[in-house]
């Protein structure tokens, strides 16, 4: 036990102490923020960079031009005249100070068609601004023209958004409001965490095994401890590195969240601007989501997540350790890692597919088969899973994980001392015996 602790500590320190680890741990969130921020920033610069466009409006009806309000982006100027030829003449005379001419034809009420002319580019943003403003105004005008009093209020009253709520019957007979969206989001998040963790740190274990082999330190180490201890020490040590990294990310996320939330609260405080009102409405929606999120029963989900996380990590990491022991150089490892990564990708897509039908046969089978269950079961779990399936799946997962660890240890024992000729899958089978 003492030796195992020493090996874990060395493995942990050797990774955490590395510059690349610190870089990665701090760099990943930065990269993430950058990925999110760049499109927003670019859009902002795009808006900021262009001047206000001058749009001339010829309103043949004489009723709708007022609906077009000038703002930072577009300045609408009403223009006398009533033919396309007039518009063209005016456009040419303006020498480029007018960007486009809008003609609202006399028969717009019946056709619903408005034309816009320009030699330059007409942006989709302008088209949608015009469409929005004119549609609303013309629609309102039509309603008024019908001469029915309070028709606006009647329409608003008649308007309805159907909200489908799912309520789960538990076997005891009571009802429990549940939400598919929140459940799906949570399931997807947990499954992604498991998936990312296993892939990232599984590869890290493999590299660590190969490094010891190429260093030729491994024979000295296994003359002081059992190869199994070394392998297990690596798996646990790298696992702890992963947990450390995740903990740092969660803390960073909490700090960023608090700071950003604080900043938003301050800016919206002074005056109840339209945005602030919109935000209050958003808050209502947020509360609804929060209620949904709160309605999920977390204790079994978290408990199962931990179990599946450990089982899945043990299964895949020992597979990676065993396969890593069979190669001399990281560049040779792909022949062994490809099948493993393929299985993982299948597991991931099976999980995605199961979101559509979490109780379908594919979801059930994939959540029981040990190689896919850590990913797929996380998706199914928030929707509720029969207890026998859960027990069978967990039993199979841990049984297989221990079997794979045992087999991997046998391969590892032989593999770490195997140099020279590249090992094949046939060799691995021989070493297993």
């Amino acid at each position: 036990m003492n030796k195992l602790r020493l090996i874990i500590a060395r493995e942990y320190m050797s990774i955490v102490g590395r510059k690349s680890f610190i870089f990665m741990t701090l760099g990943m969130p930065l990269l993430f923020i950058l990925i999110c921020a760049v499109p927003v920033l670019l859009a902002y610069l795009n808006d900021k960079g262009s001047d206000t466009q001058q749009i001339a409006v010829i309103d043949e009806t004489g009723r709708y031009a007022a609906a077009l309000h000038s703002d930072d982006m577009y300045s609408f100027v009403a223009l006398r005249g009533d033919t396309v030829t007039d518009a063209r003449e005016f456009y040419d005379k303006s020498n480029g100070s007018i960007d486009a001419v809008v003609i609202i034809p006399r028969d717009v009420d019946s056709t619903g068609v408005v034309n816009i002319y320009s030699e330059g580019t007409i942006t989709p943003a302008l088209v949608s601004t015009l469409r929005g403003a004119l549609t609303d105004t013309i629609e309102a005008a039509h309603l008024t023209a019908m001469g029915i009093p309070d028709i606006q209020q009647m329409i608003e009253k008649a308007h309805v958004n159907v909200d489908v709520r799912t309520i789960k019957w538990s076997e005891a007979g009571d009802e429990q409001a549940s939400s598919t969206e929140a459940a799906m989001g949570l399931g997807l998040m947990l499954s992604l965490i498991t998936y990312m963790f296993v892939l990232m740190y599984g590869a890290m274990i493999m590299n660590s095994v190969i490094e010891e082999k190429t260093n030729r330190i491994v024979e000295v180490v296994v003359s002081s401890c059992r190869p199994f201890q070394l392998m297990l020490g690596k798996i646990i040590g790298v696992g702890l590195v992963g947990l450390t990294q995740m903990a740092i990310w969660i803390i960073l996320l909490a700090i960023v969240g608090t700071v950003a939330g604080g900043a938003m609260g301050l800016t919206s405080a002074p005056a109840p601007s339209p945005e602030a009102i919109a935000k209050v409405q958003d808050l209502g929606a947020m509360q609804a989501i929060m209620q949904q999120v709160m309605s999920i029963n977390y204790v079994p989900i978290v408990l199962n997540f931990i179990l599946y996380f450990i089982g899945g990590y043990l299964l895949y990491s020992s597979l990676f350790a065993g396969l890593g022991s069979a190669v001399d150089q990281p560049s040779d490892s792909s022949q062994f890692t490809t099948p493993v990564i393929l299985i993982m990708i299948i597991a991931f897509y099976a999980g995605m597919a199961c979101m559509e039908n979490p109780s379908g046969p594919m979801a059930v089978w994939c959540s029981i088969i040990p190689f896919t269950s850590p990913v797929v079961m996380m998706i199914r779990l928030p929707f509720g899973v029969p207890i026998w399936q859960l027990l069978l799946s967990l039993g199979l997962l841990f049984g297989t994980a221990l079997a794979i660890t045992w087999i991997a240890a046998r391969i590892y024992r032989r593999g770490i001392l195997h140099y020279g000729k590249k090992a094949s899958f046939a060799d691995l089978f021989k070493w297993m015996k």
């Binding site: 030729r216 024979e219 000295v220 002081s224």
Partner: protein, 307 residues
Amino acid sequence: MAYLEINNVVKRYEGHTALAGVSMQVEQGCVYGLLGPNGAGKSTLIRIINRILAADEGTVTLGGKKMTDDDISHIGYLPEERGLYKKMKVGDHIVYLGRLKGMTKPDAVASMHWWLDRFDLKQWENKKVENLSKGMQQKVQFICTVIHRPPLLIFDEPFSGFDPVNAEQLKVEILALRDQGSTILFSTHNMASVEEVCQQITLLNHAQVVLTGSVDEVKQQHKKNIIAVQTPDTIEPNDALFTLLPTDPLRSHDTMIKLASGVEVRDAIAWLNEHYSLTGFTEVLPSMNEIFIETVNSTKNTTPQQQ
């Protein structure tokens, strides 16, 4: 009872036998040479003693008791394929391997300081291994092997890759450890070093012991009854007593004679002394190198191939 006893150890791999019933006894406090050509099974035997591999048959006893996993803390092992963690600091590395062998942290640290001092590596304690020269890394490997002061030391090709100066220092340290009571098992191809440091040897070939005994005994067994005679005269052959061997006058002024079978050294010398003016004579014993080559070649065809 010998300190380390190997009894009839067999190790089979898929398709071939690496050790076909090997036995040997290593006395406490001696330097024991384990010799043999490549692929003879030396490394396999050493790994079995280190419990890295398990024997299919046979036993290994240490100090009269059958070895267990706990006994590996009594062994210091310098493998032929050896290296260090490049990114670790020298001091941490030595202490880590010492503790892995069961030392407490303060003991390991104290011992590390003592050894670094002895090898003039003190200023490198907090440097990363990758910053050391190859020679210095080899010294660190040696320190890692002996840090826990094991009663049994196993060196597999210890001198390979060492320059002559470092090899000499290593040899001095190994002999010093022997003088302090350590038993040393030594596997090598380098026959010159065997003659210098080993008292006992075992020669493996094709998974079997083909020769064993003390270096002196082995040399006596393999002597060719050749005498180097120092004389200003020119000796004529005497077929009843000896034949003359061709010599290279540029390299040696001695006359080499090979005694006929059954002839005692003193009879031949007495006869020579009567007829020529002898200034001296030496019995020529074969070098370990010659014995090695001769034995390996003579067993090459007699042992069945185990493929």
